[in-house]
Amino acid sequence: MKILVCISHVPDTTSKINFTADNAAFDTNGVQYIINPYDEFVLAKAMHLKEGLGASITVINVGTAETEPSLRKAMAIGADDAIRINAAPKDGFFVAQQIAEIARTNTYDLIFAGRESIDYNGGMVPGVLATLLDYNFINACVGLEIENTTATAQREIDGGSETLQANFPLVIAGQKGLTEEKDLRIPNMRGIMMARKKTLAILEPIETGDKTGSKGFEKPQENAACKMVAADNIDGLIDLLHNEAKVI
């Protein structure tokens, strides 16, 4: 089984989000980067499949040289090799087009991605990728079993889940549940050493047109001060929620 795992490199979840003075770009000053949390879940699932059924795992990122630590970390966790498409991504469609190009030549059975990236929250790459490749696609995947070339997967729906079946080749957009928190992988020393010897191929992007463009950012308005209510004044709280906030 050949598996491709899409890795997006995002600001740490505790990062303060600031923009450059003209609000045109994200201010990366002092920001630590991590593997997108959703991608950690899918990478751990890919490792699990590799150990159980045998598989090769390639990780891929569309990004500039700064993203390489995330690809190295993925290899330290156990991916066999890595590909970086050398371009600053313009939008999810662009990323999907670049990854599709690689998948067309290398043909994978299973492509994993995260449900969304926590920076731009596009929720776009896996669905567009599957469509461009004409692969089957399961979104918001919270459970997966593979038998031969058939996947049985659980997808999260509003108020429950549903079980789906699909054949390879298949794109899975995953999240927590696909792997439990306790089963996430942390690289060990040996993995880190081995990762240094693994191949990280750097490829140039294909030409594509722009579908969307960023026109700048704004921060949400500051919250007005919190109204404190004494613990023995529950009637006061109910009154505020009813008459002032009008939510009950």
Binding site: F93, G123, K176, I234
Partner: protein, 320 residues
Amino acid sequence: MSVLVFAEVSEGKFKKNALEVVSYGKKLAEQLGTQLTAFTINAETPSELASYGADKIVTITNNALSSFDAKAIATVASQIAQKENSKVIIVDSSANGAYLAPIIAGQLAAGFASNVVELPISMEPFVVKRKAFSNKAFQHTEINTDIKIIGLAKNAFGVFETAGKGQEEAFSTELINTGVTTVSIQQATGKISIADAEIVVSGGRGLKGPEHWGLIEDLAAVLNAATACSKPVSDLGWRPHSEHVGQTGKPVASNLYIAIGVSGAIQHVAGINASKVKVVINTDPEAPFFKVADYGIVGDAFEVVPELIQKLQKFKTQNS
């Protein structure tokens, strides 16, 4: 040209999300000087959409679409968009909407912006405001393809009654064989989902253990609310994963969010910040959650919540 929306039903009835995209689509169509087409699958009373502004209602009746087949529905959407010459396609942000929109974008090679919170900032160029950085900021995104796809954020625009022409037209097509089949659906019955709830009651590690969740459930029951929890609570197995809310869990955009024994870590708040009114109950006056809350009580959940439940019950009987 036209604006096209997908109005989804659940067991034949329109969900609030569906009425919200129709309301939004109507306003957008008016601004573009064009008409709104809504399409809907296996709806009991499609004509309802006319009251929210649908000028044309394209109805599809097909048993093969009774379970949600994203690729088949995306293909139908693309066909209708071509037939109706739709330049803007709007989909909601439900689990199904988020599944559908990128497939339509791929099929039509169209620019897509998800999590859009209001009407476009400008039409020429076409710029929308969308949530980014897990609710910590907004991005202005220009969509520059001929066909534009908008994923409308939940509970961001609201539902408005506006009269539309409501002309109905049946649409039938040969369905493609999509390769993904639904085996079974596990719907939590009798419980309100976080996605649909107007009010969400959430508990954190401050509740000390799963045996105390009766407090959260009872409070949710009086308020007709959904229950949620912080990440460690689901990691510890006190509550199911499906209740984990926050940046790496479910997003919450309810009218009222009540957090009990939750510290208000940045990752928690990021995922629930889109809620309109936030109430925090916490023993620690320094808890970060108070900085982002609208109403706060410094107090012990085990004392405050039982009294709140009791008084809300009284309030409900008086006001019903």
